[in-house]
């Protein structure tokens, strides 16, 4: 072809062409898989607070009824009984947490005793993986407990997102890297927000961009990356459209968790509909000097962290209340593992197993869940607190009561059935409101060469089929006929598709279902 003719017909923009019904065409914009969005978005948000390093729960939630035996086991770090902030007659909080104690008294905190899982692993990495993937100790699962839920709702992510129906990030991690909790098999639903100036880990190098060809191109790519992160604009807009109202936040820079939660409150107030926020506070791996000295056990590394946690949650909750957003938000505080009952000789504690979970918000079912741990008279170095609740029972409660999923979906997301903890107050729980079940789709042969047969469970309504490439392009659309209720089959021709992987989405009146398949020519 002569160049002149070619140029006349080619568009000025450089978008990747794709094959549609045998013709190469240039996409003006990716067709978003927007019609696939389910009804999951209830407006409810979950804030996960991750305590990195393994929190010494026994120094946070203290069984005062067991004080003497506890003192035998960890005399060098245990605070005086009189200083413990009373929750019940048998249990109290560390003196570093007056704010959280007050919040508890307001009925906005639930504390779950003895959270863990069978055959606990004492590695930071592995135990966190278990927790975030909701696997058992023996199984390695690469997806996260919230990512699997998102995966059922937002097909084809991240291609085609953000879009008109889903303009906001689905999950937002304040930090450096997407949380493993928001990972699904193929994509991580987490947008990472380091600061309001960038969603990227690596922004301008120290001292700005050098005045050189290298600096010019680095700046250019960084700018494109920021623009590509289509959520940045909407995040910034949300932040700009609202202001934090609480005066309880400490000075910026003095409590990183409070800083993170302040930003989260700001974004929620600004109307961001993001469903999951993940924030974190590190430094909990307190093998030594978790208190200043035997004579000063209310100061030191661990009390400081407890205080930060307490202040941050309380300021955040106060802010939400003033912003009239309290009812939309629930928080869950977790750590990869607890620590041993017995302290070590370095004024610290070593990796242990169970830990107390904290759920907070105006919708929680408040109070203490579970029994006070029983501390034996004689405690060996390796003794741990008994597990009372599998952490997946908390997830089960959040899935069902906060997000309204039904039993079938929850069992599928968790791979097994776990008795749910009543984390949400019964008056505000929305159990069984939503079904993610979408029918049994089968396509064969798979891979497909020319002809394919789709087997599906018809709900009796007219069916509509859309086939998307893995890059989110709509490559085939078929308006189906009406089938009787029950398992049905339909045949169609895929000879025009090029080799690769595709997603077929079947939309019926009451449900949307999808299946991945391959075409090999």
């Amino acid at each position: 072809m002569e160049r002149r003719k070619f140029l006349k017909y080619s568009s000025a923009t450089l978008t990747a062409p794709f094959l549609f019904q045998g013709h190469w065409i240039k996409a003006e914009a990716a067709q978003p898989a927007a019609d696939l969005l389910g009804s999951f978005n209830t407006g409810r948000k979950l804030v996960l607070i991750q305590l990195d390093g393994g929190n010494d729960g026994l120094n946070m939630v203290i069984p005062t009824s067991q004080y003497d035996n506890l003192a035998n086991a960890r005399r060098n770090i245990l605070v005086d009984k009189a200083q413990i902030l009373k929750l019940t007659d048998e249990t109290g909080l560390n003196p570093a947490m007056p704010d959280l104690t007050n919040l508890y008294k307001e009925g906005k905190v639930q504390i779950i005793q003895g959270v863990g899982y069978p055959n606990p692993n004492l590695s930071h990495f592995r135990s966190k993986d278990i927790l975030l993937s909701a696997s058992d100790a023996k199984t390695i699962i690469s997806s996260g407990w919230m990512g699997r839920l998102f995966g059922k709702q937002y097909h084809g992510f991240p291609v085609g997102f953000p879009n008109a129906q889903q303009p906001h990030p689905i999950s937002l991690t304040i930090g450096s890297t997407s949380s493993a909790a928001s990972q699904d098999d193929s994509a991580n639903f987490g947008t990472v927000l380091k600061s309001l100036s960038s969603t990227y880990v690596n922004n301008a190098p120290n001292g700005g961009y050098p005045d050189s060809p290298f600096g010019k191109e680095l700046r250019f790519i960084n700018n494109v990356m920021e623009q590509t992160e289509g959520y940045l604009a909407v995040i910034k807009a949300a932040a700009a459209s609202a202001k934090n109202l609480s005066s309880k936040y400490p000075a910026a820079g003095s409590n990183s968790l409070a800083d993170q939660l302040k930003l989260v409150a700001n974004l929620i107030a600004g109307g961001l509909q993001t469903q999951l926020y993940v924030v974190s506070l590190g430094g909990w791996d307190t093998h030594s000097l978790q208190v200043t000295s035997e004579s000063s056990k209310i100061t030191g590394a661990h009390p400081t962290l407890l205080s930060k946690l307490s202040v941050a949650i309380s300021a955040f909750q106060d802010d939400l209340k003033l912003l009239k957003k309290e009812e939309e938000v629930m928080g869950f505080v977790y750590t990869e593992f607890g620590r041993r009952i017995k302290s070590n000789d370095s004024l610290g504690t070593d990796h242990g197993t169970t830990w107390p979970g904290i759920v907070f918000g105006s919708s929680v079912n408040p109070g203490l869940i579970g029994n006070n741990p029983v501390i034996p008279v004689v405690v060996s170095k390796t003794d741990n607190l008994a597990m009372q609740y599998d952490f997946r029972s908390i997830y089960s409660g959040i899935y069902k009561q906060w997000f309204g999923l039904n039993d079938v979906d929850v069992n599928q997301l968790l791979g097994a059935s776990f008795p749910e903890i009543q984390v949400v107050a019964k008056s505000t729980a929305i159990n069984n409101a939503i079904s993610l079940q979408t029918g049994n789709l089968k396509i064969y042969p798979n891979p497909v060469q020319e002809h394919a047969t789709l087997s599906f469970e018809s709900d009796g309504s007219r069916s509509q089929i859309r086939i998307y490439s893995m890059s989110g392009q709509l490559v085939k659309a078929m308006e189906g006929q009406q089938y009787p209720t029950g398992i049905q089959e339909m045949q169609f021709q895929l000879g025009n598709l090029r080799s690769g992987n595709y997603v077929l989405v079947l939309r019926q009146k009451a449900k949307v279902s999808e299946i991945k398949f391959s075409v090999i020519k």
Binding site: R3, S10, L14, S176, N202, N206, P213, F214, I221, Q227
Partner: protein, 524 residues
């Protein structure tokens, strides 16, 4: 003299190559330099290094059939001499693309493949337009044959190359109905380039008259699609004497039948402007796209003189540019945005992704890589038009055209995939083996050494302390550095502990993913 931030001197550097200079040199001359290759070059003089890079390479074995549906050719046997078959042709073109990708991926420490691609971008044909796999193969081999050779010789042969005769309508160019397509591009794109328009139809370096006369010179050539050869049919040749304008000092070319086209090429190559045009393109391929007056005067002009005085041998020019103080100005380290082929093949190479022992399996993986690059707007074998990829000529953006909101997610998805499960072809897995890569680093049990070690392999610049800190957060969020050392040592003390191995592997994958999402990874 030592490294300078910005030098405009074409004089060669005198000192030996340190690691960063060796990496800069190899990344520009190859498709991603592996650490071992950079190590080998480190400590050599620039002369010795370029001696290695410019060694002639043996002719690669031809592409083979890897599709059972091509029933004319057994699996693993070459199809290049097989008769054309309209159904099998597409399988063979696919094989040719895979094969070419394979040559880049398996390149030795050599400039040949980078320069072969340069000539492909400079002397374009499109496989989709030629559509004869065997002819496309011949074309590719012609580029490779002269990758470091004589440009004039390459243009002689390209002028009557069957693929080019089809692509630019040479075979329909006859005395009774001249077709100017090849003649026009020969001047405008392949040799001397357009100068300012100084009169109607006068582009300074040549005119519309010159194009018409050139087209006459080129009449008579045809393609035999059975023997895959070009041949000359004197009955179609314009036997008149062709007279050129004063852009070529009114040269006249009398009929010389099948030898006549060489006289046309000689005429164009008698102009120093041809050398300047070629050198500018070469500069943009290997160095950077901005050419200001200083670079024009101090770099382009001496290189053009070298090309011209050496009768258009390209090797002396390559050596002069690549050994210059200008080339080693640190301001230019990391200034080139990787093309999709640089990005994807470079990722395979730098991360030491293993290849199968079965070449047919590798063809499957290479074809998938071709497809990835196609999506990222660089289809090997099919530049967008005869001018080549706009990233090497379109002012003012040039390389920046590679990176946009559509291609960034594709690059991210590509690197993420290979940091995780990779791709599997015929049961063979192509993925980064994080332990192999970590094994290249001196002290992987130390977090900072590990991060800086990966950075040295993957990035053109060293990391700032802030960046190291951010990457530490990926590896050990909220945890002390000793956690990494502890977990790493736990793995090395018992590598058979599968759970621990997975755990460390996941962490390394996450780190690599983050590093490959850095803007720095897009640069070389």
């Amino acid at each position: 003299m030592g490294s300078s931030a910005k030098s405009y001197s074409i004089q060669p550097i005198s000192d030996i190559l340190d690691y960063s200079r060796a990496q800069h040199l190899l990344d520009r001359c190859m498709f991603g330099a592996k650490k071992d290759e950079v190590d080998t070059m480190t400590g050599k003089s620039i002369t010795a290094a370029l001696d290695v890079l410019t060694q002639p390479q043996t002719v690669p074995a031809p592409p083979v059939s890897y599709d059972v549906r091509d029933t004319d050719v057994a699996l693993g046997q070459t199809w290049i001499n097989s008769a054309y078959n309209s159904t099998f042709n597409s399988y063979r073109i696919r094989s040719l693309r895979s094969w070419w990708i394979g040559l880049m991926m398996q390149q030795r420490t050599s400039l040949v493949e980078k320069m072969t691609l340069f000539w492909h971008n400079h002397l374009v044909t499109e496989f989709a337009g030629v559509n004869y796999a065997s002819l496309c193969y011949q074309y590719s081999q012609l580029l490779r044959k002269y990758a470091l050779g004589n440009v004039k010789q390459l243009i002689y042969e390209m002028t009557i190359n069957p693929a080019m005769l089809i692509y630019l309508n040479g075979e329909s160019n006859k005395a009774s109905a001249p077709n100017e397509n090849y003649g026009r591009e020969l001047f405008e794109l392949f040799t001397i380039g357009k100068g300012p328009l100084i009169a109607d139809g006068n582009y300074t370096n040549y005119t519309e008259t010159d194009i018409r006369e050139a087209a006459k010179v080129l009449t008579g050539w045809l393609v035999n699609r059975t023997t895959y050869t070009a041949y000359f049919d004197t009955s179609r040749h314009d036997k008149t004497t062709k007279v050129f304008t004063n852009a070529f000092t009114n040269t006249s070319i009398a009929n010389k039948e099948a030898e006549e086209y060489k006289l046309l090429v000689d005429m164009i190559f008698s102009k120093k402007e041809t050398a300047r045009y070629l050198v500018r393109k070469l500069y943009r391929w290997l160095m950077y796209y901005q050419i200001d007056q200083t670079i024009e005067d101090q770099i382009i002009e001496p290189l053009a003189t070298t090309l011209f005085n050496n009768n258009f041998e390209i090797k002396p020019v390559l050596i002069q540019l690549l050994s210059s103080e200008h080339f080693f100005s640190t301001d230019y380290f990391g200034s080139q945005i990787k093309s999709p082929l640089d990005f994807t093949i470079g990722l395979y190479r730098k991360c030491e992704i293993p290849l199968s022992n079965n070449v047919l399996t590798n063809y499957e993986a290479w074809y998938e890589l071709y497809n990835s690059c196609f999506s990222m707007e660089m289809a090997l074998g099919d530049p967008p038009d005869v001018a080549g990829w706009p990233q090497y000529y379109k002012d003012p953006s040039y390389y920046e055209l590679w990176v946009n909101s559509a291609t960034v997610p594709m690059r991210t998805s590509f690197s993420d995939t290979f940091c995780a499960s990779g791709i599997t072809k015929v049961g063979f897995k192509y993925a980064i083996e994080p332990f192999v890569l970590a094994g290249k680093i001196s002290n992987p049990s130390d977090v900072v050494s590990l991060i800086n070690g990966f950075a040295q392999i993957l990035l053109p610049v060293t990391l700032s302390t802030v960046q190291v800190q951010q990457l530490k957060e990926v590896l050990i969020p909220g945890l002390p550095e000793s956690t990494w050392t502890f977990e790493w040592n736990k793995y090395t003390s018992n590598p058979n502990d599968a759970a621990q191995k997975t755990l460390i592997s996941n962490k390394l994958q996450a780190l690599l993913k983050s590093m490959m999402r850095m803007p720095e990874f897009y640069l070389m």
